[in-house]
């Protein structure tokens, strides 16, 4: 049985923890709104870009002159996994779900005899995968100094990926990130970006192309990759804040429950102590 003083200290410490988690929850709520706004603002560009590229890809894709970013290298021996996670923890299962998906994917590829290379974005994913897949790391992008993820960051990552592709380092690239569904649900997603794949119906309207379709496509593919990376970064940002918000909400609630429980125990043992003292006094008086 813990002493009254111990219980009191315990309650005070849990109360402090609750204050911290509550504050973190509110900070993430504010950040989540900003992240969602950013994702919302980026959507028109990404959607239009995707639609136009899908149209172009459908008309050019089958020809032999198609750019390599679209057609691929013709083999699928070496896979590059771009694992995008957060820079910080304390956000529930956010980082581990991405890491788990990436690990599964990597193990499948390795079992199939392919070569796997991993590029990590965000510190947490790197830590999570270091133990069993550390040997496959080829690079890391640190975003911990970036306050607000901008298109420039996405461009830098895309340039890195394209540089490696042009250098013949890999054949297929896949992005791993969490797609934001709601505050309580984020979906770990694997998206293949090289060779480029487009979902959704192609634009079928007949356009004049200036310069040629091939030239436009060659110009747009790197931009398209940057856009996809940017979308993934934004989705990830919103997911991270959402996950942290619900994790901290849970923590706050648990702390509240713990405080109630300990307060009950504290009061009970206080009363027991008083009763005991009273009995001692009374029986002492009766003995006289």
């Amino acid at each position: 049985m813990p002493s009254l003083k111990d219980l009191k200290n315990k309650i005070a410490s849990v109360k402090n923890t609750r204050k911290i988690t509550k504050a973190m929850q509110m900070v993430s709520a504010a950040k989540l709104r900003r992240a969602q706004d950013a994702a919302e603002a980026a959507r028109p560009y990404a959607e239009r870009m995707n639609a136009v590229m899908a149209g172009l890809a459908a008309s050019v894709g089958s020809s032999a002159s198609a750019p390599r970013l679209l057609a691929g290298t013709g083999s699928d021996k070496v896979h590059l996994l771009v694992v995008m996670t957060a820079e910080r923890g304390l956000c529930g299962g956010f980082n581990s779900t991405i890491a788990r998906l990436a690990r599964l994917h990597a193990q499948e590829l390795l079992a199939a005899g392919k070569t796997v290379k991993i590029l990590t974005v965000g510190k947490k994913g790197r830590e999570a995968l270091k133990r069993d897949l550390g040997a496959h790391f080829v690079g890391h992008v640190d975003l911990s100094d970036v306050k607000r993820v901008g298109y420039v960051n996405a461009q830098a990552i895309a340039r890195d990926i394209i540089g490696r592709f042009d250098g013949g380092e890999f054949d297929v690239a896949t992005l791993f990130f969490n797609r934001f569904q709601s505050v309580i649900s984020q979906i770990p997603t694997a998206q293949q970006v090289i060779p480029a794949k487009f979902d959704g119906a192609a634009v079928t309207a007949l356009y004049d192309y200036e310069p040629s379709e091939e030239a436009i496509l060659a110009d747009l593919l790197p931009r398209g990759l940057a856009t996809q990376v940017f979308t993934a970064l934004l989705e990830n940002g919103a997911s991270e804040q959402g996950a942290r918000m619900s994790a901290m909400d849970n923590a706050t609630r648990n702390a509240g429950e713990m405080i109630t429980k300990y307060t009950t125990i504290y009061n009970r043992s206080r009363q027991a102590a008083i009763t005991k003292e009273l009995i001692e006094i009374i029986s002492g008086a009766e003995a006289l």
């Binding site: 950013a38 603002a41 980026a42 028109p44 560009y45 990404a46 239009r48 870009m49 136009v52 901008g150 298109y151 996405a154 309207a205 007949l206 356009y207 004049d208 192309y209 200036e210 310069p211 030239a215 436009i216 110009d219 747009l220 931009r223 940057a226 856009t227 940017f230």
Partner: protein, 130 residues
Amino acid sequence: MAGTLQFDLVSPERRLASVAATEVQIPGADGDLTAMEGHAPTITTLRPGILKALGADGTKAYVVTGGFAEITAAGVSVLAERAVPVEEANAALFDALMVEAREAAAATEDKDVADKLVADMAALRAAAGL
């Protein structure tokens, strides 16, 4: 009076404009072009330049770097990698763009393309009057 067409200008980070315009002047990769209502459907890439939209409430000009424009009979949507209203453009921005263009020029093997990019940037800066 010519009819109007819907003009949208979006950059990866935000939507800069969505207004009705009577004509839109676009710095296309193969030369400037002006889109008005009923233009044939066209997709063109952009070179760094000044994009102008003439509407009922005057002319709006934007500094744009690469990207593309999608023109249909009813509207123009411009997807620019970077777009800044001319009033907000300043010497620092152009300096940064120039540096970027030179870096890109140094990295590429295609001399023609690289020189054109740097020249376009210089012309853009002159056009903006800075």
